[in-house]
């Protein structure tokens, strides 16, 4: 089976062609960097995404957050539910951890700016 993918690692958006047999990768074509090859491999076996969203702040408002590493794609909406239940301190600084090891993915949810600007 051949799968055609658009690499999402960088804005170039290389078109990748992956040859698969019984979910095993035989060959990858079209990538132009090492990260592209890695992307093709994980995308065909266990697709991962960095999740970016906002989290509520104590006393109102929101602060932007992200997972500090990619999480399994199918867990994105589950992660959203967890993130929406936290309340971030109004004193939180950029890079502070809001949730450790979200849904056992190994990724922490961290703020991407100071709450107070």
């Amino acid at each position: 089976m051949t799968r055609e993918l658009t690499c999402i690692v960088c804005p170039k958006g290389c078109q990748l062609k992956v040859e698969l047999e019984n979910n095993k990768i035989l060959s990858v074509e079209g990538y132009t960097c090492k990260r592209g090859l890695e992307y093709a491999n994980t995308e065909c076996t266990a697709p991962m995404r960095t999740l970016t969203t906002t989290a509520p702040v104590v006393g109102g408002g929101v602060v932007p957050v992200k997972t500090d590493k990619p999480v399994p794609k199918e867990l994105m909406l589950e992660c959203m539910k967890v993130i929406n239940t936290v309340r971030v301190s109004p004193d939180a600084k950029i890079g502070d951890t809001v949730i450790e090891n979200i849904l056992d993915t190994g990724a922490n949810v961290i703020t991407t700016r100071n709450v107070k600007v």
């Binding site: 960088c10 958006g13 995404r49 960095t50 969203t53 994105m76 959203m80 991407t112 700016r113």
Partner: protein, 415 residues
């Protein structure tokens, strides 16, 4: 209040901050950044998704993180900035009139000005969609601000018109926050957004991208209740028989960005009809000596990394101008064949390596980017694919410029 400054930078977004840092590092100290919002950072503050900074910082940052890095650079250098400050006018003599709650109305006599005001979204009024005008119609960027900065969802069932990057990003964002995005309609037969965004913002969530489709009617009295969409023919005219109704409470518009050049016009600086920004030379100088432009106010960029790069050129050029350095060289105009829609800069007037940025007007495959001086070919670059949504570059070297015989360089796409 009337003051003097070596360099006034209008806009404290990524362009203004990069330009300020570059000018400072080139030895200029008397700098003032004027920003109308409540903090530095510009539009990056609401672009909470990642993908910024891969070129510049070799890592993937979110918009606020990218902005914060530059804010730190500005703060480390103690470059002065005024927030909540609206610039009202600039003159040909480089007098900047601005207003804020603290200083009131004031004027600054600047030796040099950098225009870094960014761009705005094309509004609904420019689209001529028939039907009613209920609540629930937003530009994608307005919705982005509501969701990402204010924490409000503008709707639950959404149709997006236009597949620019902000529209694609908002399709994912609204979905993550629990809304149902029914469709993204794109008038053109291709998307104006990056391929990666179609993949990770639409395909990841099974959101249909309807190419060659547009919204022909908006329904609803108080609030949007639905839209009628239709396929368009090759002349972009809706095909009546293909009309279909989609129930929704929100219509987001992502139909292009326009450089915000009201101030540029007030100083009578000539604009490029196609980019909507000033006509500049390789130093990003406009037709007024000492007035430079960079970032999205000059032409709309795909990547903030390129905005920073361009703004550093403007910052260094302003520093040279303030220090009295002048460049010599004949004026060379860059002309295009139509397949190349525009170039920035539009002219070259110095013998130095110049990276020329340009966009094409359609998708072309297996082509060559050709730059000619009269009959002789200076650049002949093969490309598998070029697309309007992706900015291209070629470098014209100092040597090439030295040896140019004519007064023009022509840019074309050839098979």
């Amino acid at each position: 209040m009337s003051v003097k400054a070596d360099l006034v930078i209008i806009g404290g977004g990524p362009a203004g901050m990069s330009a300020a840092v570059a000018a400072y590092d080139a030895g200029i100290r008397d700098i003032l950044i004027l920003e109308r919002d409540t903090s530095l950072g510009g539009i990056l503050r609401q672009c909470i998704h990642n993908g910024f900074g891969l070129h510049r910082f070799k890592e993937e940052l979110t918009g606020p993180e990218y902005a914060y890095r530059y804010e730190l650079m500005v703060r480390e250098r103690n470059i002065p900035f005024k927030l909540n400050t609206m610039v009202l006018d600039i003159t040909q003599d480089k007098v900047v009139t601005a207003i804020n709650g603290e200083d009131g109305l004031f004027e600054i006599e600047a030796k040099s000005i950098i225009l870094a005001m960014g761009c705005r979204e094309r509004p609904k009024g420019a689209l001529n969609i028939s039907g009613t005008r209920p609540a629930g119609i937003f530009t994608a960027g307005t919705a982005q601000r509501f969701v990402n900065m204010d924490g409000y969802m503008p709707g639950k069932k959404v149709v997006i018109l236009g597949s620019g990057d902000i529209g694609l990003i908002m399709a994912r964002r609204m979905t993550l926050e629990g809304a149902k995005v029914e469709a993204v309609c794109e008038l053109m037969p291709y998307s104006g957004g990056l391929a990666r965004n179609i993949e990770q913002c639409l395909n990841d969530f099974n959101i249909p991208l309807m190419l060659s489709h547009t919204v022909v009617e908006i329904h609803g009295k108080e609030r949007v209740t639905g839209v009628t969409i239709a396929r368009v023919d090759e002349n972009r005219r809706p095909i009546y028989e293909s009309r279909q109704y989609i129930e929704c409470d929100t219509l987001l518009l992502s139909v292009g960005l326009l450089p915000e050049n009201e101030l540029t016009k007030s100083a009578d600086i000539s604009l490029d009809r196609i980019t909507g920004g000033a006509i500049v030379d390789q130093s990003r100088q406009t037709k007024i000596e000492g007035v430079f432009a960079c970032g999205n106010v000059l032409h709309v960029h795909d990547l903030v990394d390129y905005v920073s790069e361009e703004s550093e050129i403007a910052g260094r050029s302003a520093a040279d101008y303030i220090k009295g350095k002048t460049t010599t060289g004949k004026d060379i105009s860059l002309i295009t064949d139509g397949k190349v829609r525009y170039t920035v800069p539009q002219k070259i007037s110095a013998e130095e390596n110049v990276t020329v940025y340009f966009r094409v007007s359609d998708i072309y495959r297996n082509v060559r980017i050709v730059v000619r001086d009269g009959e002789s070919i200076l650049v002949n670059k093969k490309k598998q694919k070029v697309a309007p949504g992706e900015m291209e570059t070629v470098t014209i070297t100092a040597d090439m410029i030295k040896n140019i015989k004519g007064n023009t360089l022509s840019f074309s796409i050839e098979s």
